[in-house]
């Protein structure tokens, strides 16, 4: 296209979008402003291919390369007057908020079904009865509090980097959360439930740890939220604040996971229920993988990252 030689007029670019796998030409955009962002390009692309809404698009400079970010500006990329972008379909997307709300609401209600012993779960003579053990009532309060907290944090606290995730995640995640919730709740609320070996002492200690970890986890979530202004996607190193619960940042990169692990271990101790311990173990494995990834990203992005910090367990892991 014609190059503008008039001073002050930015040279407009052309963008062609090819399929990353077949190299088929999918779209040709004419007269694109050089300061256009990838997000704007995605919107233009959607116009010609409405089935591929922006969150489903992965655009990259190289068919096998990394996805470009929505904020990337066209003229800052290593492209000529005609930018060639490769497109990959990420598949149907669903918002993080939707997934979180669904996966957390399930356990909340499912646990209560068992707690209130609705018919058909336990034998008929136990329908709508309640356990005679204090710890069972306490466990219900703790479990419910935990998921209510998570729901509220999803709605009011968390600031998500990504808007969406692949749709199939919701099925896997809900199976995980809902399945384990049912499994745990079945035993804790069972008519043949056996209270902890060391009685009230054990329960009190576990409860104390649980409360501390819940407060800790919440404090970290708030601290992380305050790191990032609303609507921005900036990333900064988190540091301890005046809140003592955040001082764990001195030792770990992801204290929210540390506290979460603590919550579940204490819940396992409180209920002395093996399925809870297994849930903690699985969760620990997953959170460790995430913590290590996050830790690595921090190290890569920030030269001055505090060297004492470990990903999830102080000094160890």
């Amino acid at each position: 296209k014609a190059l503008s030689s008039a001073p002050g007029t930015a040279q407009q670019l052309q963008v062609e979008i090819l399929d990353a796998k077949t190299r088929e030409k999918l779209c040709f955009l004419d007269k694109v402003e050089p300061h256009a962002t990838i997000a704007e390009i995605k919107n233009l692309f959607t116009k010609s291919h409405p089935q591929w809404y922006p969150t489903r698009q992965s655009l990259r400079l190289d068919p096998k390369g990394k996805s470009l970010k929505d904020e990337d500006v066209l003229q800052k990329l290593p492209v000529g007057t005609t930018a060639t972008l490769y497109f990959r379909d990420l598949g149907a997307q669903i918002s993080w908020v939707t997934v979180f709300l669904t996966e957390y609401t399930g356990p909340l209600f499912i646990y209560l079904l068992f707690y209130f012993r609705v018919p058909f779960i336990y034998g008929h003579k136990y329908d709508f009865t309640s356990s005679r053990h204090t710890v069972v009532h306490l466990a219900c309060i703790c479990h419910s509090f935990h998921y209510i907290k998570r729901l509220l944090e999803t709605l009011f606290v968390h600031r998500f980097s990504h808007g969406t995730m692949p749709l199939r995640n919701i099925f896997k995640n809900c199976t995980y959360y809902w399945g384990f919730a049912a499994w745990m709740a079945y035993y804790i609320n069972h008519p043949l439930y056996t209270p902890p070996t060391y009685g009230a002492q054990q329960v009190k200690l576990a409860l104390a740890i649980f409360v501390i970890c819940q407060l800790g986890n919440f404090s970290i979530h708030m601290a992380l939220r305050d790191l990032r202004p609303a609507g921005s996607k900036t990333r900064k190193i988190p540091y301890p604040t005046k809140n003592p619960f955040t001082w764990l940042f001195l030792l770990v990169s992801c204290p929210n996971y540390t506290y979460e692990l603590g919550s579940w271990i204490s819940f396992a101790l409180m209920t002395q229920c093996l399925p809870v311990a297994l849930f903690s173990l699985v969760g620990f494995t997953q959170m460790t993988i995430w913590a290590k990834g996050k830790h690595r990203s921090y190290l890569k992005e920030f030269r001055d990252y505090p060297p004492l910090r470990m990903p999830i367990i102080p000094f160890l892991l």
Partner: protein
């Protein structure tokens, strides 16, 4: 747990492809592993518990090859030779027993020590993946071997009344032929002298062996059910101080059910691999 999928893909995918519970595995472990690998998102390797995997073969075709250290190659070659020999011994013992006794009753008892030894020894294949001398993912190999260990130790060894069932012979035959083919395939691949007929065997025998093995395994588990129910073996009942229960009978039912989604996936993957490898072979010949 948004990224549950990413992390779980490795696990979940593998288990979806190979087995959620103990999966059917009359098949060459490695033959099914690539199935798992391919069924998952990861397009990596396959489970060659030796040098050349399908992927390896394809790479060979393009002139590249996995570089293994001398010690690793020597060890793997010895391992695969030993396993080939072991399963050959099993095959011969089974044939001799049947020729001498004319019946399958008592056959399992006569070969059980050898079977247990060589099948259990295969746990090493997980280590091979862990240390990276074999390109399969640990999870895939783990699942494969576990399913065999499950059948041998948790079914035939533990539930004595079913040892003389015909179905036991069925899967034993399938496993034996499969393993001999698979381990000799690896051995020859490592030695860089793979006879075409072994490659052919590996990619064609499964067509019959796989369903036969699955049938044998399922029928055996089914035969074991009444004994498991009656004795309540391997089960934990309430109340107990860990507030946990496990019913082996229902576990077996779920295991049997899991074959339904898993077997077709693995089988069709193997068919696709077969077309790719043997079909590719045909093209090369044409170019000659």
């Amino acid at each position: 747990m948004g990224r549950l999928t990413e992390a779980a893909a490795a696990g979940g995918g593998a288990s979806a492809a190979s087995s959620a519970g103990p999966p059917p595995n009359p098949l060459p472990l490695s033959a099914t592993s690539p199935g798992c690998a391919a069924t998952m998102a990861s397009s990596e390797e396959d489970g060659s518990n030796g040098g050349s995997s399908e992927a390896g073969e394809e790479r060979e075709a393009t002139g590249k090859r996995r570089r293994l250290g001398l010690v690793a190659t020597a060890w793997l070659t010895l391992y695969n030779i030993a396993m080939t020999a072991g399963w050959l011994v099993l095959a011969i013992a089974m044939v001799r027993f049947y020729m001498e006794k004319g019946t399958h009753k008592g056959l399992y008892k006569s070969i059980q020590k050898t079977l247990k030894f060589f099948q259990t020894f295969a746990l090493l294949e997980i280590v091979h993946c862990l240390i990276g001398i074999v390109p399969t993912s640990v999870l895939v190999a783990g699942v494969q071997v576990s399913s065999r260990i499950f059948m041998v130790w948790l079914i035939t060894h533990s539930i004595k009344p079913i040892q003389n069932e015909e179905s036991v012979v069925l899967f034993l035959v399938a496993w034996t032929v499969t393993e001999i083919t698979r381990y000799s395939f690896y051995t020859f691949s490592l030695l860089d002298h793979l006879p075409y007929f072994i490659k052919w065997a590996r990619y064609n025998f499964f067509i019959i062996l796989y369903p036969v093995g699955v049938a044998g395994e399922l029928l055996t588990i089914y035969a074991a059910l009444p004994y498991v129910k009656k004795t309540g073996m391997f089960s934990i009942r309430l109340p107990n101080k860990y507030n946990f229960s496990f019913d082996y009978y229902y576990f077996l039912l779920i295991t049997m059910a899991s074959y339904i989604p898993l077997f077709p996936q693995l089988y069709f993957h193997m068919l696709r691999q077969r077309r790719k490898v043997l079909h590719g072979e045909v093209i090369v010949e044409k170019d000659d």
